[in-house]
């Protein structure tokens, strides 16, 4: 059961991810990205992080991606046009990416033997209670600083979005 769920949603995530990169229209990319996020949320559940799964949907899909869609629609962004230099990027980028992926996979497989499986329910610490108490004790300072960061981001967004009076 675990294996099936993982495979289904991992495949979905990868397919959606490919769509993010390959679709020329930003709206399609955005929708594919939402698909990735939803698939990942399920995988988070498998990994024993129900709170993070819910927050993933709530924050990423529910807030951030809505903003993206909103901006895309507001700017009425059309499909992407080809531009010069694209072939050069492919020439340099594709081998690099393939190399990166290969090395990463190689390292991962060498470091983490396949014998240990991930079993749903064997780790149930991802409750709101546990994550919350970690946030408010061990990670209190980072948490507070993050709140400051968010405040600064709000100010920045307001300043950037504010209509100049001149």
């Amino acid at each position: 059961m675990d294996a099936i769920i993982f495979l289904i949603f991992a495949a979905a995530a990868v397919i959606f991810g490919i769509n993010v990169v390959l679709r020329t229209h930003p709206v399609s990319s955005a929708l594919a990205l939402i698909g990735v996020m939803a698939s990942l949320a399920v995988i988070y559940l498998l990994l024993g992080a129900p709170f993070l799964a819910a927050v993933q949907v709530l924050v990423y899909a529910g807030a951030i991606m809505v903003l993206f869609l909103f901006v895309i629609m507001l700017l009425n962004a059309g499909s992407e046009k080809k531009s010069r230099g694209a072939w050069m990027a492919r020439l340099a980028g594709v081998p690099l990416l393939v190399a990166l992926l290969t090395i990463l996979s190689f390292v991962i497989f060498r470091m983490y033997p396949r014998s240990v499986g991930v079993k749903f329910g064997s780790f149930a610490a991802g409750t709101v209670e546990r994550v919350g108490s970690a946030l408010f004790t061990t990670y209190l300072l980072p948490f507070e600083i993050t709140s400051l960061l968010v405040l600064i981001a709000i100010l920045g967004a307001v300043v950037l979005g504010y209509k100049e009076l001149d």
Binding site: P50, A54, L58, A61, G62, A63, L67, L69, F70, M73
Partner: protein, 396 residues
């Protein structure tokens, strides 16, 4: 019993009742608004227009399914399905009643209880905006696009006060599971004042409840916040280009959303299925008394009819009411149905408020809408949350 089988049965029951409710919610809305405006409302199809929803459904089913040229096909079809799906998913975590035992199987009157239930509902409701946004964008038409832009901004804005007001009762209940939230409200002060979160110490969440309801109006795009579909400005907003069953999908999604937020309000603030005063002080007899009173009123209307078309309908309604009153006197029946009755009564009253407001208030202007959310609701909800947190920390 098999977990899957049990779930399937429960799901079938909930879906059946829910669909019926949604159909007749629309009928009720038309009736109530009509009476507010001193009209009769649907009257011709069936007694008191009771068959009107079925007729409407048939009409929508048989109507030609137009797909305007220039739309983004896939998304155009996908959007209404997304809307209805998302609006129905949240129902799974709503607890309708306590644990019951039927034919030796013990189960809860709830499809499933998540330990992050509240966050789940919030997450799903935060996705609800996609149905509208995608519909507006896929239509490739300016009114729908404007409607969907408005909707995106509006729903993101009102999600904040909504989330903050939800957090306040959570602090008092100390859990995210909706079932446990209801159970945490199950005692009574001095034996008869219910410890619902609106009345519960250390800080009665009256402000949170009011703000929640206002934000809920906006989240469900209801008057006075129905900017995304403002017919006087945007023809029909995001669903201008939709017809037939796809239109019906949005329509149902709106009512399902209303039902969800009202259920959430009931669970979070009004004690869910719990009666307003203890059973031993007579709350078990309330359903009977209420139905009997309704029957008497119906009977009187039946005997002195106001319109020639009212032939026997009031008498029938009276008989049904009396029958229900009698049924609630049977302990086995009452034990099973009175939680559902209380849940239904509270949710129904909130739904009535929705309809009532629709018949009463004008629409906000767009800038007023945003200013209201950001400079009034949000601060109020934040202050309320802080006060609650402080008081819970001191007394809790």
């Amino acid at each position: 019993m098999n977990f899957f089988l049990l779930s399937a049965i429960k799901m079938a029951m909930v879906m059946g009742v829910l669909m019926l409710t949604l159909l007749y919610l629309q009928w009720a809305e038309r009736k109530v608004v009509a009476h507010i405006q001193v009209r009769l409302g649907p009257y011709r199809v069936g007694p008191h227009g009771l068959l009107q929803p079925i007729a409407d459904t048939l009409k929508l089913l048989l109507k030609e399914d137009l797909t305007p040229p220039g739309v983004n096909k896939g998304l155009y079809v996908f959007a209404p399905f997304l809307a209805i799906t998302l609006s129905l998913i949240s129902i799974v975590v709503i607890p309708f009643g306590p644990a019951i035992e039927v034919a030796g199987v013990q189960t809860w009157m709830q499809l499933t209880d998540l330990n992050v239930g509240v966050v789940f509902v919030l997450a799903i409701s935060s996705l609800a905006v996609y149905g509208i946004v995608l519909a507006g964008w896929a239509s490739n038409s300016k009114y729908p696009l404007l409607g969907s832009l408005r909707s995106a901004a509006q729903m993101i804005s009102y999600e904040l006060p909504l989330g903050l007001t939800i957090a306040a009762p959570l602090l008092m209940a100390n859990t995210l599971s909706l079932r446990e939230i209801v159970l945490s409200q199950s005692h009574y002060y001095w034996g008869w004042i219910p410890a619902w979160n609106v009345l519960h110490g250390p800080l009665p969440q009256v402000i949170a409840f009011v703000v929640f309801m206002i934000a809920a109006f906006a989240e469900t795009n209801r008057i006075p916040f129905d900017l995304p579909e403002a017919e006087t400005e945007l023809v029909a907003g995001f669903h201008t280009e939709y017809s037939s069953m796809k239109f019906a999908g949005f329509f149902m999604a709106e009512y399902a959303n209303m039902f969800t937020v009202c259920s959430m309000a009931t669970v979070l603030f009004l004690g869910g299925w719990l009666p307003p005063w203890p059973a031993e002080k007579g709350s078990v007899f309330f359903p009977s008394v209420m139905f009997a009173a309704a029957g008497l009123i119906a009977l009187r209307h039946g005997l002195y009819r106001a319109r020639p078309r009212d032939r026997r309908s009031f008498q029938v309604i009276a008989m049904v009411s009396f029958g229900l009153a009698a049924l609630f006197l049977i302990p086995a029946f009452a034990q099973f149905f009175s939680p559902l009755f209380w849940f239904g009564l509270k949710t129904g009253l909130l739904l009535f408020t929705f309809i009532w407001v629709r018949g009463t208030l004008p629409r906000f202007r767009y800038d007023q809408l945003m200013r209201f959310a950001w400079s009034f609701l949000f601060p109020v909800a934040a202050v309320n949350l802080m006060a609650t947190a402080l008081l819970v920390a001191i007394f809790g």
